[in-house]
């Protein structure tokens, strides 16, 4: 038998109105985005959101060698979401698992509506998302960073997709769930939108929400997206402006 004494810093901080980490219900975690951080990739971006550290590289549009994936009238947008072995408590075994396969798929669907894929028939645009450190909300952070990396690569786009989650924790509908809120909370709902039109390109939900809570969470998430969108623009501007 092995007994583990943990040193859980967050466990004492839970209070009434404020959230465990002291944020208001509609407050994002601190965010930082930087574009153009890698040499070899055609485009790249680095994002920190709370304890999340995400690095994204984009290659392409480039030739697609795998015939059965080729589209005669447009490019395919392939995404690979991957967690570093050291990114989580305990060690994540290298290689794809079912969770990362699903996230890769929905990430590709979330980003595709913004990209002028029809300009590059028979090609591929490859988006590699590496989670260097994970603290809740990595799929949204990955999509947000991927958009900046696509812009950095000069891929022609209709809009800069942005992603954020809302959900329910401690009985309260809140924005941008932390790892603890995600684990212990009642629901998590990641979305992605095209900020110009407000259209939704990603929507998942996990947990228990009434219709009213859902609408509240959706509005909260859309607002969160808009704030993050500003950070994306700053990152792109400070690289090219």
């Amino acid at each position: 038998m092995i007994t583990i004494i943990t040193n859980n810093e967050l466990s004492t901080g839970i209070e009434t109105s404020k959230r465990a980490d002291g944020r208001a219900f509609d407050e994002l975690r601190p965010i930082k985005i930087e574009a153009g951080v890698l040499k070899r990739a055609d485009g790249s971006a680095y994002l920190e959101l709370g304890g999340n550290k995400i690095l994204v590289a984009v290659y392409g549009p480039r030739e697609l060698h795998i015939r059965r994936l080729m589209q005669p009238n447009r490019a395919v947008l392939r995404c690979r979401y991957n967690m570093a072995p050291f990114s989580v408590d305990g060690r994540k075994r290298p290689g794809p698992d079912r969770r990362s396969v699903e996230i890769s798929k929905i990430t590709s669907e979330a980003l595709s509506p913004a990209v002028f894929l029809e300009k590059f028939p028979r090609s591929t645009i490859d988006v590699f998302i590496e989670v260097l450190e994970a603290e809740g909300g990595t799929r949204c952070a990955g999509i947000t960073a991927a958009s900046v990396a696509l812009a950095d690569a000069g891929v022609p786009m209709r809009d800069i997709i942005v992603s954020c989650a809302a959900g329910k924790a401690d009985g309260q509908v809140v924005l941008d769930l932390s790892e603890t809120e995600d684990k212990e909370g009642e629901a998590d709902m990641p979305i992605a939108i095209m900020p110009r039109t407000g259209e939704i390109t990603l929507l998942q939900s996990d947990g228990h929400l009434t219709s009213e809570e859902f609408e509240k969470a959706l509005d909260l998430a859309i607002n969160g997206c808009k704030k993050i969108s500003e950070e994306q623009k700053k990152a792109i501007l400070s690289r090219y402006g």
């Binding site: 396969v101 939704i200 947990g207 009434t210």
Partner: protein, 265 residues
């Protein structure tokens, strides 16, 4: 495999929808014929064969005694797995589950798990040491569109149909009594409905043809009390906020009707 849909078919289906019609004559919020049989596999502790139109899935459950996950020592385990068999469509290939198959099993799993369909607390044999693990295997036999709704409907039916042996502890030993089979504790019957967006309209239960040309897809999981337990958007085009809200509201109605197909537990 890339399936190329001729532009003329896309236009024809889209134009029909714009005129308020569907190519198979259904109304926008009408399902195809549903058939649901349970107990069809005697060697499975629970089973169901579900058909929605020509889409057909065989579902079986298998209980095993195992160890609980370290972070949830006092609940049983439910494992959902799906195979898009190469028999089910000309473009499905043998091999490890691809991303469509993974999405199907994960969405089904989330709907069941988050709605609290199975009372996992009652699957503990010895706290922190031994629990029942229920394997829920989805075998997709014929693919004619809308796998998600069929998967969830059939899974709930198979779980209701499942009987596991009674266990007791005697002298520190687990007795697994196959002579006393008890029903799996199913306490909630959440179901999912899927909508396709075509020509700016939402239609329920898309057929294969409709799926192939749809702009986007949204699946909503609804519990018996009308609350939402799961959502999954798919497809390479966006949805508006209004469309999502409308889909939820329609789902709340439609799942009530769908639930009539389930066996009593």
């Amino acid at each position: 495999m890339v399936t190329i849909i001729p532009e003329i078919i896309r236009e024809s289906i889209t134009n029909l929808v714009k005129n308020g019609e569907r190519s198979d004559g259904r109304a926008f919020y009408e399902y195809r014929g549903i058939s649901l049989e349970t107990g069809v596999i005697e060697k499975a502790e629970g089973s169901a064969r579900v058909k929605i139109g020509n889409t057909q899935i065989m579902i079986g459950t298998k209980p095993q005694i195992g160890e609980p996950f370290p972070d949830t020592p006092n609940v049983g385990v439910l494992m959902t797995n799906s195979e898009l068999l190469p028999m089910a469509a000309p473009d499905f290939e043998p091999g490890p589950p691809d991303e469509r198959s993974v999405e199907l099993s994960r969405v089904t799993d989330r709907c069941i798990r988050e709605a609290g369909v199975v009372d996992l607390d009652k699957l503990v044999i010895i706290e922190g040491e031994k629990v029942w693990m229920i394997f829920l295997d989805l075998h997709v036999l014929d693919y004619d569109g809308n796998l998600i709704d069929a998967a969830v409907l059939g899974s709930i039916a198979a779980l209701i149909n499942t009987k596991i042996p009674e266990t007791r502890i005697e002298d520190g030993e687990i007795i697994v009594d196959h002579e006393k089979m008890i029903s799996l504790p199913v306490k909630e019957k959440a179901l999912m409905t899927t909508f396709a967006k075509i020509g700016g309209e939402l239609i329920v239960d898309p057929s294969l043809e409709e799926e192939q040309i749809m702009d986007a897809r949204i699946s909503i999981g609804i519990r018996e009390d009308g609350s939402i337990c799961a959502m999954q958007k798919g497809g390479a085009n966006p949805l508006t906020k209004e469309e999502v809200i409308m889909a939820i509201s329609k789902s709340q109605e439609i799942t009530k009707e769908l639930r009539e197909h389930l066996p009593k537990n």
